[in-house]
Symmetry: C2
Subunit: 467 residues, 2 copies
Amino acid sequence: MSSTEPLYFDVASTAPLHPVARQALAAALDEGWGDPARLYRSGRQARLLLDAARETVAELIGARPDEVSFTASGTQAVQLGLLGALRGRRRTGRHLVHSAVEHSSVLHTAERHEAEGGEVSVVPVDRGGRVVAERFAAAVRPDTALAVLQSANHEVGTVQPVAEVASLIGGVPLLVDAAQSIGRLPAPAGWSLLTASAHKWGGPPGVGVLAVRKGVRFNSALPADEREGGRVPGYVNVPAIVAAAAALRAVRGEAAAENARLHALVERIRARVPQLVPEVEVVGDPVRRLPHLVTFSCLYVDGEVLLTELDRAGIAVSSGSSCTSSTLTPSHVLAAMGVLTEGNVRLSLPTGTSEAQVDRFLSVLPEVVAAVRAPLGLDLTLPVGEPTAELVIDALGKRCPLPVIELAKRIGEVPPGGLVVVLADDEAARLDIPAWCEMREQSYEGEAPADAYGADRGFAYRVRRVS
Amino acid sequence: MSSTEPLYFDVASTAPLHPVARQALAAALDEGWGDPARLYRSGRQARLLLDAARETVAELIGARPDEVSFTASGTQAVQLGLLGALRGRRRTGRHLVHSAVEHSSVLHTAERHEAEGGEVSVVPVDRGGRVVAERFAAAVRPDTALAVLQSANHEVGTVQPVAEVASLIGGVPLLVDAAQSIGRLPAPAGWSLLTASAHKWGGPPGVGVLAVRKGVRFNSALPADEREGGRVPGYVNVPAIVAAAAALRAVRGEAAAENARLHALVERIRARVPQLVPEVEVVGDPVRRLPHLVTFSCLYVDGEVLLTELDRAGIAVSSGSSCTSSTLTPSHVLAAMGVLTEGNVRLSLPTGTSEAQVDRFLSVLPEVVAAVRAPLGLDLTLPVGEPTAELVIDALGKRCPLPVIELAKRIGEVPPGGLVVVLADDEAARLDIPAWCEMREQSYEGEAPADAYGADRGFAYRVRRVS
């Protein structure tokens, strides 16, 4: 392995095409190019290939073939699944329950449902990003049309208690977004609708899965045609579906051995990163987690800057948060967990990742983080200055992560027991200051409007120095 | 060419992958597999390829790149285009105008719009399948949110007067479904929204185009994400889009020469089929037509049976109608044109089709039609029996095409000027009997409930023998 060989650690965004998928795609472009709705030879041939692919996927997710429809993407599967189930259960009610850490496609669809008169309950998660099954079940009501819970979280890898939730919510259909897990783990028991995305398991882009259990009421949100059981309109992409099914069979065949290997590599990253980089928080459930995914947050730096610097070093990773992204919104997942939203780095390891590759990442990361932090002039031990009992830091107009940086720089100016008040109007401060306190074991004492401190806008975040 | 080489004459359903598309797909799977939303190297590379593909398609359809979004299919483009434009223009009104011969994706979406409280006007077509521009424009009202007109019809190849309609309907946005023409002809002037489907021009399946002119109000019907200008949610299929754009450039480059060649071959089919096969009607506008598509209907036979027999002879064609299909609905296009809906065969010739291939089809067709007709025991000249002034044919309970077959067999039993009354309860008779009269130059005198003839159901179709 050359030290400049690029490293791709972002399969949670998209996985490279599996060699089996590439072969299957080439073959299916030759043999399955016909319109599967037609009765002549090339059409019948395409139909046979499509049927076989459907059987493969059905078997691997634990469904009947007629329960499986193919979509054009995971997002389309989620949207059509949610909207179709909500429409199908309209007589029962218009109440939707989902966890706070679902994929944005779920959140966007729920927002649309709410805007159109539906009601939505969001179930919180613990600091590891996991819902408590009883708490999820308690959100379900007699008028609940649908519950939605991911199999595992896409940003932090935490595996959700799907089977437990399913057993507690009785007859309410449960849509399980299995996009991040289905290439590595069997589908969890208890799903009523299941969604997934082939390009995340090594299949080609352009294929999603929407499975709907027999008996679950479903009423297509889009004008249906005769295709895909009336659940997904539009021409069916047979060659890509054939390749997707072949890839799923291949990766699931490799999963047992590969999961154990990647699990150990991730364990190594989880242990080493906090030893190598100061002021880092590894987030997500340390035990009930995906084998190949790990996320950590580095205080005082912007995730996107970190990502850019790692890319310069030939390492592709993702960031669940960024203060400089177009939306200026910190990750809703990290916010719901109450962990640090700044300086976030997600690694998701592809099949075949070697220990040497992980070690190269671990050797590069400390330098990169240090270089990004250098201009901030931070002393990463708590500074001790002339102690005063109360200190007001005016960070109004300063963008995240500056308010937290100011707090970290100056908390040493008050003695233990003293109070620091940070005035800030960047929304991210509301998440980051409590998260910083949690991590640094300082005491967060809440927020108040900043006008008590003579400011015309923003909030005053109160932090009590503990040590 | 061997005489058993299979002939594929159904590119209007799906075209074989163009060699250029296959090469581009393979290259883009290598170079453009990354997530184009990511900032690291493989993501940026995918984004560059996507941008270039968008520029190519924009140039070839006469749009700006930011007006072009990629969808997963032509149907998805039509659905999202229609619904998005209707939502965007809701303040203006909820009235939708479309021609009677649009693709089923338009019809289904219009039905959904109507079911949800919208209003729909359907503009009729002439016997050639063409709308009259003034008549289309007359259907537009102050509360019309959207007008929809195909560039050319998918079943009969008739080219519509899009530019003329656009110039007559003022500020009302016009959605043009260009799926059948865009691989061969420039986009017609005057579109506000344009839709197309790559697998019909030799691109891979999984790619549609939805172009929306700057300034046209659009409000996504599905929960939007940040992708494709907020018009099409879901992961973007970069490799397929790259291949689709390459194919479009290739086929449009070949179009001038290829269109002339295929136009002549279709002209040959249009002229020869009625000479070779008795009782055939070639349908669709003979002049304002797509170069490569021709449709004809054979009296007394079922289109699907014909299709099956041609397939046995190694020839793949499509049928716009079938009495034995799962829906039992005759083609809405042929019905709107008032032409025969039975025994329908559509040929759409791929690039490179040779004269020898067309001749093979012309040599096979007469035998196939004759073989299918043989068991009916028809004498295909008008029979002359013992003349009576009025004849009642009881075809109640008989499925299409039997009522027309009975009519054809027995009309000779009345003298010229005499009346034949066909009692029938198959819905298709309502279309086929008048169409048969038009074709055979007999006089259709309308329908009445069959109870006047002692029947407990169905209708009495009155035909006056002219010759």
